[in-house]
């Protein structure tokens, strides 16, 4: 069966929907678009769509991914056109390509994500930039996390920060761009990072200010877009 890998965005009102809501919304949009999606067998058939790592409620993103299994091939451009015509405002497809048989799933390959974090500051700009840089230079920043058994444990978030790409402070606005571990093996929640950042720098980050630019495949010191990773 052909599998089409699809990149989409989630923003505006659509960012307030949970991952489960997204799955339902996508399933219905695909039916409206009359895309020949494959259904699972059994008493409660559902369309065969697999997603990359879930995005938290309230966060926007330009680089989400899903793999959809089709009963028959259709033109990629036609697929994008029909699906976009059926998606609610705030969701939209930006690219789609068929992946070869046996290509690994999104959850296997995706291991990082690039975020843009915005915030405000009232102190002098020089200081803030320095404090942020100092924070990212720390070796250990511990946060509390509850494990699956409900036990509290301390976790060092610094090894999960892959790369700080940008720290910009201008007119009281702070913009930080950062790549962090994302996925089933190692996962840093962006809100855990912003929480720690606020505690260490006194920065006020906007409630609506976390944006996932894209999900990534990190390999051998470089980054690849998930759309073209077939092995």
């Amino acid at each position: 069966m052909p599998v089409i890998r699809t990149q989409f965005f989630k923003k505006d009102t659509a960012k307030y929907i949970s991952h489960l809501d997204l799955i339902r919304t996508m399933q219905r949009s695909v039916r409206r678009a009359d895309i020949p999606v494959e259904y699972s067998k059994g008493f409660n058939p559902h369309s065969k769509i697999a997603y990359g790592p879930a995005l938290a409620v309230g966060l926007s993103s330009d680089g989400e991914f899903l793999d959809m299994e089709l009963k028959e091939r259709m033109e990629e451009t036609e697929f994008i056109k029909r699906l976009n015509a059926s998606l609610p405002a705030g969701l939209g497809v930006t690219a789609a390509e068929y992946i070869p048989d046996g290509a690994p799933s999104l959850s296997v390959i995706i291991n990082a994500a690039e975020y843009r974090i915005t915030g405000r500051t009232e102190t002098t700009e020089q200081n803030v930039g320095q404090r942020i840089r100092k924070f990212f230079a720390l070796d250990d920043v511990l946060i509390e996390r509850t494990d699956k058994r409900g036990r509290e444990k301390k976790l060092n978030i610094m090894p999960m920060i892959v790369e700080v790409e940008k720290i910009e402070v201008a007119d009281g606005q702070v913009v930080i761009e950062v790549i962090i571990d994302t996925g089933s093996k190692s996962n840093l929640k962006p809100t855990d990072l912003t929480g720690a950042l606020e505690r260490h720098t006194g920065l006020l980050l906007e409630e609506t200010g976390i944006h996932r630019k894209r999900l990534l495949v990190r390999r051998g010191g470089g980054y690849l877009p998930p759309l073209r990773v077939y092995d």
Binding site: I17, R24, R31, H46, E206
Partner: protein
């Protein structure tokens, strides 16, 4: 801060999709071209409100008008309410996020009495005076419809007017009247006096209520001879030609009934004596299977929903059920679209039909014997036998079903200890039936869920004169069942009797209850239908503070010669018929359902012949 920028708030509340709007098929219009802003209000939280079929129909009906934008407004959950108060954000419509205080109409659908405190709370959050007498020019008209509008006397001081019957028929003349009044620039009072002349509109402030010394109603009379002495409900006469939307809003978040509801008929041919819906939605009017198949086709195409549910008061009474089910399944089954049939009756339940549905999607099965003994089932005219139930569950178990829900009521008129024990006996017979089913056919692991609700006597039913059980009697009956239904395959749920008591007070209440309602809201009551928010002590205090005895409404038996607070409303079913049925109930004699012969309920006198599909 205005509602336009609620973004910051949405990240701080549970389920922000309740307030975000923007769902697929929601309607957005340019406000500059509009004559009428209408807020369709449901006094409960989003997931309940969005499940309501009436909202789905009327939202699109109103938005068909070029001069009108109908938006939605629901009760914010307590976390959102707290934030709105803190930031000074008034109640806003989901689509435009404009405050509803600037709208022309705020139209509440009144589905259950326990939503009344939310109505008051929503008005207050909107900054609209709670009492209709205190509203001024430029403020919206607060109007109400739905089943509770048939006896809306407890809300008489709060609403400007009520719509009795089916909104499809009456909303258009109301809005037309409004436009011509608004263009001429009249007073509020002038509009109310004009709208009161429309069939199906009840303006409570144009009627005076007098009471007797014992607190019962003496008379309800119009303040002027121009107004109707009795207000008739209005109905859609031909459902095939009635407005039905081709699309519905597809919510992002999970709602209670997250599926297409295909309305197969209105009204009910059964005359269950406790059931208000079965009386007030008469006459029976069916939609043809051709029209339904077309509507299903378009709704599936325009929504992408994976499930269609056939909506009515008693699905298996639909004349063309089998062909309709077969048509829908063959047309949509291969696209993963399932079909659900709620409200199936026990007696006409067919194994073929189950097998047909099961091809696509397996749903749980619900049966409602309502009472535990044949004697009591005859009293309430339920018209099903133990044999019917056993045949049906037997067929279901053989088809592999292992999850069955059984609904009963406690506190029905004339109920004895035997009837309560009878509920438990019947449940165990269902369990035995499962174990008697061939091992190879039955599903593994039986689960029987038993729910008992507390009987609430409702207006416009044969039991409208009957007293309700007292709270401690309900509790004793529930305790008996709790002890008897301890079994690994059975789980037993029961309703809080305090809630049902309050429901009984307001269901048959009069205008004296308006002040109690407002007092209870002042004391903090809201979301009374939600266990975690219902606070009976506050309600008791509200009754005390207002000097009103709730027992007068709930547990008092009425005589036939008493003027009932809703006697000036005509739902079509006559008082004589209800009295006759109450007398038959006392004798335990049943009344055949309408298709076996017209029982002269009175509906034909109101609407003339040819309207009721049950009579030929």
């Amino acid at each position: 801060m205005t509602a336009k920028d609620i973004e910051g708030l949405l990240n701080r509340v549970e389920k922000p999709a309740r307030y975000a709007g923007g769902e697929y098929n929601s309607v957005y219009k340019n406000t500059e071209d509009l004559g009428i802003r209408f807020a369709f209000a449901f006094p409960d939280v989003y997931e309940i409100a969005m499940s309501h079929l009436g909202l789905r129909i009327l939202y699109y009906l109103l938005n068909e008008r070029e001069d009108t934008w109908c938006e939605r407004v629901f009760a914010p959950w307590t976390d959102m309410e707290a934030l709105m108060k803190q930031k000074g954000i008034p109640l806003f419509a989901l689509e435009s996020r404009d405050p509803v205080s600037g709208f022309d109409f705020l139209g509440f659908t009144l589905q259950y009495e326990m939503g009344y405190s939310n109505v008051v709370n929503m008005l207050s959050l909107a900054g609209i005076p709670v009492l209709s007498s205190e509203r001024e020019d430029g403020q919206p008209f607060v109007i109400g419809g739905g089943p509770c509008a048939y006896n809306a006397e407890p809300l008489a001081d709060i609403f400007d007017f009520f719509v009795l019957g089916e909104g499809e028929e009456v909303l258009t003349p109301i809005l037309d009247t409004y436009r011509s009044w608004k263009e001429k620039g009249g007073t509020r009072q002038e509009f109310l006096e004009r709208v009161a002349l429309i069939e199906g509109v009840y303006v409570p402030s144009l009627y005076n209520v007098e009471y007797r010394e014992d607190g019962t109603v003496k008379s309800v009379l119009p303040t002027d001879a121009r107004f109707f002495k009795r207000i008739n409900k209005v109905i859609v006469k031909d459902l095939d030609r009635a407005f039905f939307p081709e699309k519905i809003i597809v919510p992002f978040m999970d709602i209670v009934h997250d599926r297409i509801m295909l309305e197969i008929f209105r009204g009910c041919t059964r005359g269950c004596r406790f059931c208000q819906a079965g009386m007030v939605y008469r006459p029976v009017r069916e939609k043809s299977p051709q029209v339904l198949a077309e509507q299903a086709e378009r709704l599936i195409k325009n929504t992408g929903y994976e499930e269609v549910s056939l909506a009515s008061l008693s699905t298996s009474d639909y004349t063309h059920l089998e062909p309709l089910v077969k048509t829908l399944i063959s047309a949509h089954g291969n696209k993963g679209v399932g079909l659900s049939l709620p409200s199936l009756r026990i007696d006409s339940f067919s194994l073929d039909l189950i097998k047909e549905i099961q091809k696509v999607r397996k749903t749980g099965l619900t049966f409602a014997p309502e009472a535990g003994t044949q004697r009591l089932r005859d009293v309430i005219n339920k018209g099903v036998t133990e044999e019917d139930l056993m045949d049906s569950v037997g067929a279901a178990f053989s088809a592999g079903y292992n999850n069955v829900k059984l609904y009963f009521m406690v506190g029905l008129p004339s109920e004895t200890k035997e009837d309560i024990e009878g509920i438990a006996d019947l449940v165990y017979k269902v369990v035995d039936k499962y174990y008697a089913t061939d091992r190879e056919n039955r599903g593994r692991g039986l689960k029987v869920t038993v729910s008992t609700s507390c009987f609430v006597p409702k207006p416009f039913t044969p039991f409208q004169w009957q007293p309700q059980d007292k709270i401690d009697i309900f509790r004793a009956k529930q305790e008996t069942l709790r002890k008897r239904l301890k079994h690994r395959n059975i789980s037993y749920n029961w309703h809080q009797p305090e809630t049902s008591y309050l429901e009984a007070v307001f269901a048959r209440g009069d205008r004296k209850l308006s002040k109690v309602l407002i007092r209870a809201w002042e004391l903090g009551c809201r979301f009374d239908g939600w266990k975690e928010h219902f606070d009976f002590a506050k309600w008791q205090r509200a009754f005390e503070d207002c000097g009103v005895d709730p027992d007068f409404y709930a547990v008092r038996k009425r005589d036939y010669d008493e003027v009932l607070p809703w006697d000036h409303i005509n739902v079509g079913v006559s008082r004589e018929f209800l009295k006759r049925e109450n007398e038959r109930a006392k004798k335990g004699s049943t009344t055949p359902h309408c298709r076996e012969g017209c029982i002269n309920c009175g509906i034909m006198e109101l609407f003339g012949g040819g309207v009721c599909d049950a009579s030929y």
